[in-house]
């Protein structure tokens, strides 16, 4: 019954070489910390360089209860199905020089990689040794509603001291992840990768693979972060425009233009620098649980095709990922194989998954994942031999949101050249005119080929949703019989988030008829980028013309954007539907979906 626990080595010996000793990690960390320092001077407040970089030498994790010292593993350890046993405990950790407590599975942050086979019935026993309730959600899995792991909707949660057994058939394949769906446990470490091996072998073959799980660790109590956002929502934003920036704009654009710009933003009481609610002021970005200074390293043999399974397991962060010197051939998103497309960089939204294939030569390469607000980065290395490092690039300058991002084409647009009647009409729910909504998008953008704020015209080929084409087409070729329009709404200053101007507590569940095919239209009436996750059913993204683009479990909607996807409601039961930014979900950007 008990699952076999392996270290990261797989059966073939070439893979085993990816395991490095801790001594090697430490040696590299010193070197990398030195390199990293040079790039970090833009974020100086409060002398928190070490905080952003993490503690060189790796986080030492003391496995609670057993009292033995575990070094932060270089790769997440791996469990192979079909039977798994996961134990959830508190775990003392130290990523930045400050002793903290994480919530860990089998004594690990991130939780162990679960390797399953398509077609297997898996049994996962989860034992809760915490003093509070817990849960595990299998993100992106199509499974019976009572196995989905959302307390209050799927089941009653896992009470302290008890074991819950999940059992379901795995009909899909690809890269997924799992995480707690209870309060802020995901923020403090309860997340891990899942690989479901495809029956009949991978479509896009590779000689080797590494899982890259990005996350955002904080030394702060997540309850405190949430309360702080309620007290002062721009608390973590240290990239605001200053009087000096105004003077610089006056020099560049002239006084009247600079002043008009301030008047416009000020008039809306919006902040064009609002790219992330929680920044590196509170976060240390991790790659496979390693800080930038610790420098997670994945090994390869030159010339091999290496499949990288990128998972954004963070609570609040978007990452712009690139590996200078390597082209990324995107072969799957959210576990679903796509027509290969080659790019230099991709933005991975919170909870999204991308599989890319790279073909490195005989050199070291830096995996560089800047947070969207450019306050920090996660970093690792791909190298043919342990101990090698490559240059860590400087972070890009922080971008500003524009009026176009807000779906308000006030300035610099020639309206006469546009056919206004072709623009989709904004259709706001009455509650959107209430006190908990601070803006509405009247002219949303419908383009899927926009890489998003901070990635436009950066000289690199950046992936967009328009580049995706899931192989095999939609799961259901019926045309959508009806349309549900939902607006992503919020009030930044009051830190309230909602759909259609209604928080979860004030909203009725969305009701889908069993087996109907429907279209969901999302309009982002906020200035933030939201990753929207529907449990239990695929979100099949379509373009403006309604043609199938990609099958996803988490759909990123940019500020002022309108996009749509089709859903086949073939999963009976109650499901969660929410923004995957953890504090947005907690603040009300959540709906129950009932399929009956």
């Amino acid at each position: 019954m008990c699952a076999k626990q392996e270290t990261s080595s797989r059966a073939d010996d070439s893979h085993a070489s990816s395991e490095m000793t801790n001594h090697e990690i430490r040696c590299m960390a010193h070197e990398s910390a030195r390199i990293g320092m040079q790039t970090m001077d833009r974020f100086k407040p409060f002398g928190r360089r070490r905080f952003v970089q993490g503690l060189a030498g790796g986080a030492l994790l003391l496995a609670q209860g057993r009292g033995r010292l575990l070094a932060a593993s270089n790769s997440p350890s791996e469990l192979t199905g079909p039977d798994f046993h996961l134990t959830i405990d508190e775990l003392p950790v130290n990523y930045t020089g400050a002793a903290r407590r994480a919530v860990a599975i089998n004594g690990q942050v991130p939780a162990p990689l679960l390797r399953m086979r398509q077609g297997d019935v898996v049994t996962i026993r989860v034992t809760n040794n915490l003093r509070e309730q817990t849960s595990i959600h299998w993100h992106g899995f199509i499974l019976p509603a009572d196995m989905d792991g959302v307390p209050g909707l799927s089941f009653n949660g896992i009470a302290p001291g008890t074991t819950f057994t999940y059992r379901f058939k795995v009909n899909q394949s690809g890269t997924y992840w799992y995480h707690s769906h209870s309060r802020f446990q995901e923020q403090v470490g309860l997340y891990g990768p899942i690989i479901v091996e495809r029956r009949g072998g991978e479509r896009h073959g590779a000689d080797r693979e590494h899982t890259l799980l990005f996350s955002d660790w904080t030394d702060h109590d997540p309850e405190h972060i949430y309360a702080t956002l309620k007290r002062q929502s721009d608390y973590y934003n240290f990239g605001k425009r200053t009087f000096g920036d105004f003077l610089a704009d006056v020099r560049k654009q002239g006084f009247s233009k600079a002043a008009a710009d301030r008047r416009m933003w000020g008039g809306m009481r919006m902040n064009p620098t609002d790219l992330a609610d929680v920044s590196a002021y509170a976060y240390t970005y991790l790659l496979n649980g390693a800080t930038p200074a610790t420098n997670w390293t994945g090994l390869f043999k030159p010339g091999e095709r290496v499949r990288l399974r990128l998972i954004n397991g963070s609570s609040m962060s978007f990452f712009d990922v690139r590996i200078p010197g390597l082209k990324l051939t995107v072969v799957a998103t959210d576990g679903q194989d796509v027509e290969p497309v080659t790019v230099d960089e991709l933005r991975i939204g919170t909870a999204e998954v991308y599989d890319v294939v790279v073909t490195p030569g005989d050199a070291a390469y830096t995996i560089f994942a800047q947070s969207m607000d450019r306050s920090g980065y996660a970093r690792g290395t791909l190298a043919p031999r342990a101990g090698m490092t490559a240059e860590v690039p400087a972070m890009d300058t922080r971008a500003l949101l524009t009026m176009n991002d807000m779906g308000m084409h006030h300035e610099g647009m020639d309206h006469s050249s546009m056919d206004m009647s072709a623009m989709p009409k904004a259709n706001h729910a009455p509650a959107e005119y209430g006190p908990i909504v601070d803006m509405r998008t009247d002219m949303p953008n419908t383009r899927l080929d926009d890489p998003g704020v901070g990635l436009r015209d950066n000289g690199r080929r950046v992936l967009t949703y328009a580049d995706l084409a899931t192989l095999g087409g939609p799961i259901d070729r019926r045309a959508a019989a009806r349309e549900v329009e939902l607006h992503l709404t919020g009030h930044m200053e009051r830190y309230i988030w909602s759909f259609n101007g209604q928080k979860f507590s004030d909203a009725e569940p969305l009701r889908f008829t069993h087996n109907e095919r429907l279209r969901i239209v999302l309009v982002n009436d906020t200035m933030m980028t939201h990753p929207i996750h529907l449990h239990g059913m695929w979100s099949e993204l379509t373009d403006m013309a309604g043609s199938f683009v990609a099958r996803k479990h988490t759909v990123v909607v940019q500020p002022g954007q309108r996009l749509s996807y089709e859903v086949t409601a073939d999963a009976l039961g109650s499901w969660a539907y929410h923004c995957h930014l953890l504090y947005h979900m907690e603040a009300g950007m959540f709906r129950e979906v009932v399929v009956a």
């Binding site: 309730q133 200053t242 000096g244 799961i475 259901d476």
Partner: protein
């Protein structure tokens, strides 16, 4: 290794060919079985508790906006502080402002129900007490507070007190970021009264104005010492009452203080 590569290529090619079949997505997807168990019907609070997710949770904040020493003659201590507790829509709002000169104290204390009514404005309905060396005076207060275009904080409150006395208070402030941590804050407060109250040096009509300019450094967001100047001006009867009491109705002073919150 070489053969593995060939196999991988073959699979990849086969996959591509396979992908041309239009209904492959349909064939690969297997709808889930219906759930064997369902959670019981529950009220919002039970569900929120079980989910560990409560968007009606209440929060609180205590803000010492100004806790300052003033270089007046003689020197004085002045404070302005507020606190709130509640949910997104309704909050209990408490506010106090006052000064301590020599051994004399005067303070305004207010408690109100703060209710958000629009995206940027809330109403405040409550009571005010003027306390200190003079006998305590009570008022009923009705005000609006919010963020005006341009990120200008604004509060306007009307008061009706014992015996039909009336008063009006307006206050506004703005944060100008010199850097991410160095903030220049102009602030203005104006008081007007319906009738004279010589004991408190209050004259009917526009009574007094305070204009301050404070430069704070946020060591942390919550902890910011500051230096500044403050100009107090009394008008009309208020000015006369002040002069009669030996006070200067037009006074500029340096201030040093602390802005802190939690």
């Amino acid at each position: 290794m070489k053969s593995a590569w060939l196999v991988a290529c073959a699979i990849a090619l086969a996959g591509r060919a396979f992908a041309q079949t239009p209904d492959q997505g349909e064939r690969e997807h297997v709808p889930p079985d219906p759930p064997q168990t369902r959670v019981h019907e529950m009220a919002y609070h039970e569900m929120a508790d079980m989910m560990g997710m409560d968007d009606r949770k209440r929060f609180g904040k205590v803000m010492f906006d100004r806790l300052e020493w003033r270089d007046t003659e003689p020197s004085s201590v002045e404070w302005e502080a507020s606190a709130w507790y509640g949910g997104d829509i309704d909050k209990l709002w408490v506010e106090t402002e006052g000064e301590h000169v020599d051994s004399a104290d005067a303070a305004r204390v207010e408690a109100a129900w703060n209710h958000i009514v629009s995206a940027w404005w809330s109403t405040r309905l409550g009571v005010r007490w003027d306390v200190g060396d003079e006998p305590t005076q009570g008022w009923v207060a009705f005000g609006v507070a919010g963020l005006a275009p341009g990120f200008v904080e604004l509060e306007a409150t009307a008061y009706v007190g014992d015996g039909g006395r009336t008063a009006l208070r307006l206050s506004t402030e703005y944060d100008l970021l010199l850097t991410q941590q160095l903030v220049l804050q102009p602030a203005l407060e104006i008081n007007a009264y319906g009738e004279d109250d010589p004991e408190r040096l209050i004259g009917a009509g526009l009574s007094d104005l305070e204009l301050g300019l404070r430069l704070r450094y946020e060591f942390r967001r919550e902890f910011a010492p500051y230096l500044g100047v403050n100009w107090s001006k009394r008008f009309g009867d208020s000015a006369d009452f002040a002069r009669a009491a030996g006070e200067d109705p037009d006074e500029i002073c340096f201030v040093a203080g602390l802005r802190a919150w939690f």
